[in-house]
């Protein structure tokens, strides 16, 4: 083998590069170039109608960003929606544990739980619009069966007077909670569940057998075998969810709420879109995008650095 590679290596690699070329050229033209252009734009002011060409303004966009109260509110919205991540992961794990048991029609169940992931995103969002309808929606119907009169989930809210004393807007909308619940439903049975399933099936059954011999309970086995053995999977899912969470919320805001009521469902990604296509501010939109990148980058780095300690690698 070594012999052949030395002789004919250049041929193979040249041919290989040719095969890489289409993808590489595509990546350079349609990904790397726009990304670099947006980095340049983030230091410019460019109202796409009123400024004929981008005007260099240095760090002004980023200074504006730091003082933009709306932007921080949208950042708060984004992080609030991410509170659902641990719950969603727990649900995924629970589903995976159930599906890992030898129950009847296991394949059918796996398919059913995976279905939201392969369905068209927009169709699901429209479905949830109907589910959340305060009058005829399934959600409030179920609540009414247990004696709760459900609110208008996507537009209504509660006025908490005591918040006013703290200098915070007293209006608390249900919309964020509603989107979080929706996110749980969409996310629990998706890729995270599949990853957990794969993780579970990769655990050496001998470990459980040994535990059985020692008389361990189900909880002991989960606590001392399953959970540590799954920690790389958990860590991976957590990082990916973190990244996805910061970039998320666009589809729901675009299709369901227009980012409202009162901006309560506008996330960072929807704000980027708004700045560009509603306010025509290409420069400022790029600044937000790069700020978002920096936040995600730093958080991911920090997670690798400090989160790695709790991960158990076999």
């Amino acid at each position: 083998m070594i012999f052949r590679r030395r002789n004919r290596g250049p041929d193979y690699s040249l041919g290989g590069y040719f095969f890489l070329l289409p993808n590489f050229v595509g990546f350079m033209l349609f990904v790397l170039l726009p990304v670099l252009a947006s980095l340049a734009l983030s230091f410019c002011r460019w109202h796409i109608f009123n400024d004929p060409v981008p005007r260099f303004v240095g760090l002004k966009n980023f200074v504006t960003l730091l003082h933009d109260r709306d932007f921080w509110f949208y950042t708060y919205n984004t992080t609030f929606l991410m509170l659902g991540i641990p719950v969603g992961m727990a649900l995924s794990l629970a589903l995976a544990l159930l599906l890992n048991k030898g129950i009847h029609a296991i394949r059918a169940f796996r398919m059913i739980y995976f279905l939201p992931t392969v369905s068209s995103g927009v169709a699901l969002l429209v479905l949830w619009l109907v589910i959340y309808n305060p009058q005829y929606g399934l959600f409030n119907y179920v609540l009414s069966k247990v004696g709760i009169q459900g609110p208008s989930w996507l537009s209504g809210g509660l006025e908490l007077k005591w918040l006013e004393k703290l200098g915070i807007s007293p209006m608390c909308y249900w919309s964020k909670i509603a989107l979080m619940i929706m996110g749980l439903w969409n996310g629990a049975g998706g890729y995270n569940m599949i990853l957990y399933l794969a993780g579970l099936q990769g655990i050496n059954p001998e470990l459980y057998e040994a535990a059985d011999v020692d008389g361990a309970t189900a909880w002991h086995k989960f606590h001392h075998i399953t959970w540590p053995m799954l920690s790389p999977t958990t860590f991976f899912i957590f990082i990916m969810s973190l990244i996805g969470g910061f970039q998320g919320g666009f589809e729901a805001a675009y299709v369901m709420t227009e980012g409202g009521p009162a901006g309560s469902t506008t996330t960072i990604s929807y704000e980027i879109f708004n700045q560009l296509y509603v306010k025509s501010q290409a420069g400022y939109a790029s600044s937000i995008a790069w700020f978002l990148f920096a936040v995600v980058f730093i958080l991911t780095m920090a997670s690798w650095r400090y989160g790695g300690r709790v991960v158990h690698y076999e």
Partner: protein, 447 residues
């Protein structure tokens, strides 16, 4: 090895060659056309374009239809990158923005040179939203456009159809409750009185089964009585009431009264469906004429009337022609483009538009023809006079400016808080003024 590399290169060459389009149809002019619309409109557009190409065998038109939501993102990107279509559909709300940035061709030279063009063939004010003069005197890079009457400036778009709002009412509901039908001289109070009688809880379970009206559509009410969202001279927002200019505020307060004082319109927490008029849950609704085709799905008998005015002697105003065609300033075939524009506002296209019910033709002969709303049995033919009266007898007020959709989106969102009862109408008006003025200052560079 070299041979193999050559073979790969040859393959690549073939692929690349295959990608280039063969647009040179012998000696013909190729132009592109884009519009927003739903799938049904795509079909009718294709038919019209086929007709156009039959009449103009020297021109080939490529058509592209996208949804309203995606359309403006697409056009913004297209003009910035210089790849916009030759002819496109334009909303009055965007004309100034695109024209000031130099993306639209002045159509006045074409109009002047066209012997078949007669202004009186069109409804009044059909061109008023599209005519501007540049008052910047060449200072700055973006033109400072002021809206002027037709023929007094440059024409940046050629009118296609009219928006007009109507009061739709469910006759079955009125008959059952013994309430007399709306008349053309109704005022707001008449609307509220009738709506209260039509708000009924049939089974006495505490939940209303029928609402008198679906909110009052404050912006329509205001624009029918001369309420201007921004002052066209000072370019300042107009929501906070001042002596002699309180139409917007009055319309907002009236809508609030319908919700909470008269309790005859569903408040937000009821979450009434968009087409509650079709399902028979509301008895009256104020909406654009384009809803005629959708409301024909209703099982009830219904009719139309003029939008009620605030007082008996209020003047009736209109926002003018709403949708038009523009020619991109970067076009290589302005003459072919102009022929297409004329065709799309000509007799054949206008009759097709009238038949579709998506809006009202600007061409009088099409609006008065048998084709107008031919496929719909409601409203009755005798009520078309309501529409004509609206178009012929209203005074024009300018409605649009740069950033229109941006500040209107803000006011719509702020208004949600008013309907929820969280913010008072006056406070909301003040913050809308503040935000709108900020957007306008930013847009016109007067910050």
């Amino acid at each position: 090895m070299k041979q193999r590399a050559l073979a790969v290169l040859a393959c690549l060459a073939v692929i690349i060659a295959g990608c280039t389009t063969q647009s040179k149809e012998a000696g013909k002019t190729v132009i592109s056309y884009t519009r927003w619309g739903d799938p049904a409109e795509l079909d009718s557009t294709k038919e019209l374009i086929a007709q156009f190409m039959k009449e103009n065998p020297d021109i080939i038109v490529r058509v592209d239809v996208v949804s309203w939501q995606d359309y403006w993102q697409k056009m913004a990107t297209a003009v910035v990158t210089g790849t916009a279509q030759d002819v496109w559909l334009m909303s009055a709300s965007y004309v100034e923005q695109y024209a000031a940035a130099g993306h639209l061709l002045d159509l006045m030279p074409f109009v002047d040179a066209d012997p078949t063009f007669h202004e009186e063939d069109y409804f009044p004010h059909a061109f008023d939203n599209f005519t501007y003069v540049d008052t910047s005197g060449g200072k700055g890079t973006v033109a400072d456009l002021r809206n002027v009457p037709f023929r007094q400036g440059k024409l940046y778009a050629f009118t296609r159809d009219y928006n007009c709002s109507l009061l739709y009412y469910n006759k079955d509901h009125f008959d059952a409750a013994g309430v007399p039908y709306p008349t053309d001289d109704w005022i707001w109070q008449d609307l509220a009185d009738a709506a209260r009688k039509l708000t009924i809880d049939f089974d006495n379970d505490g939940i209303m089964d029928q609402w008198g009206c679906q909110g009052a559509n404050w912006s329509t009410l205001a624009s029918a009585i001369g309420g201007e969202v921004i002052d066209p001279v000072t370019r300042k927002s107009n929501f906070t009431p001042r002596p002699g200019s309180s139409q917007l505020y009055d319309a907002i307060v009236f809508n609030l009264d319908l919700l909470y004082k008269y309790k005859c319109a569903p408040p937000p927490e009821v979450g009434i469906e968009e087409y509650a008029f079709v399902t028979g849950k509301v008895s009256m609704v104020i909406e654009g004429a384009w809803e005629i085709r959708n409301y024909n799905r209703s099982k009830n008998l219904w009719d139309i009337s003029l939008v009620p005015l605030q007082y008996k002697n209020s003047r009736r105003t209109t926002g003018g022609g709403g949708v038009a065609h523009v020619i991109y300033s970067g076009t290589k075939s302005p003459d072919a483009a102009w022929r297409l524009v004329r065709f799309l506002s000509g007799e054949i296209s206008q009759r097709a538009l009238g038949r579709s019910g998506t809006s009202i033709p600007v061409l009088k002969s099409a609006a008065y023809s048998d084709d107008f709303l031919a496929d719909f049995d409601r409203p009755p033919k005798s009520s078309y006079s309501v529409i004509y009266k609206n178009l012929l007898g209203s005074e024009f007020i300018p409605t649009y400016s740069r950033g229109y959709l941006e500040y209107m989106k803000y006011s719509r969102q702020k208004m949600q808080e008013v309907w929820l009862g969280v913010t008072s109408a006056l406070d909301a008006c003040k913050s809308i003024d503040e935000e709108t003025d900020k957007i306008l200052a930013e847009q016109y560079g007067t910050e």
